[in-house]
Amino acid sequence: MMKNADANAAETIVIPTNRLSAELKEAANVQKVLLQHEAPSCFLLDCKGQSIPAHYLGGDYYGFIYEEEKQKYWVFTGDVMGKGIPAFAKMAMLRTAIRTLAPQCKGPADLLEKVNATLYEDLKLLKSFATLFCGMYNLTDNTFTYASAGHPNAILKREGKASEFLKANGIAIGFLPNRTYSEKILDLKPNDYICVFTDGVLEAMNEDKKQFGKEKIIEIVNEHSDYPTLIQTITEQVLTYSNFEQRDDVTMVTMKRISH
């Protein structure tokens, strides 16, 4: 039976707190499934990801897709505007769009264009947007192609060399319809790796209101020699820096070409 808006509003108000709390916990479990999965196994790559929401639920996203038959390995890191439940719901929208569209796309720029076209109307209505970094490793020629929709620049660390930012230009998803994106390509040699993160890493603040910033991340990456613990090390330093008062979700992804 249809109810009028007032009736629905009244019904919403009387939801018991313990039920809301139970639903929040259940939603947090859903979030774990959507985010905290193992990267697909690939003989050439070692990929890792982690997301720590600032609250029960967050708007950060990361993920991997391995298209073995096409010899493509995708990596994604995104950030949907907002906090808590609304951001989580929009993150799920973003994830669905990415996972549905990626197998139909030639590369990262194509994917960003299609994700933007798919989500534009909804994000406009919601007065929201998302930033997204998309990378694709081609196992046939060992190249890494990447594109960004307004996302913080990723880091490239080559073996024995200082790390560098991978600059990419592109507007965030959801602001303008019919956008095209540009992509860049580089060779990934054995032991080289890519590190992608969300702005919650950069913008962590200490007591003096100073941001963690890009330089500190570069410094850590340059000095760190144990790839498997890199994400954990950066995360610990970010949380310690901000005295564990997390303002935003902290999400990181790494992709390394294994030496054979």
Partner: protein
């Protein structure tokens, strides 16, 4: 985390809002509410005093520029500190604004 705002009337239908402090998801609503209360047809938001802005702050400000454009009014953003400019540039904010202004 807080922001301070003041405004200066430039002409009958033109005002500048000066913002100081940190603009993020928690404080941006205060600025948006102030902009919403304006009845002028042209407004510039001067960010010279803003020491930090996050993507939510940028995004909601851009959405407001778009809303004003749809209403036939002009909302501009100016005087960003380098740290603010860099975040806006990385997000593609200037490309979006240029396109909105040129429509």
């Amino acid at each position: 985390m807080s922001i301070k705002m003041s405004d200066e009337q430039i002409g009958v239908n033109h005002t500048t809002v000066f913002v100081e402090g940190e603009l993020d998801i928690f404080t941006i609503e205060t600025l948006i509410e102030k902009i919403d209360r304006l009845s002028v047809t042209r407004c510039n938001v001067n960010l010279d005093g803003v020491t930090f802005i996050d993507s939510s702050g940028i995004g909601l400000l851009i959405r407001k520029v778009m809303d004003w454009k749809e209403e036939g009014r002009i909302l501009t953003i100016s005087d960003m500190q380098p740290v603010v400019y860099e975040v806006m540039e990385e997000m593609g904010a200037f490309i979006i604004l240029e396109e909105v202004y040129s429509q």
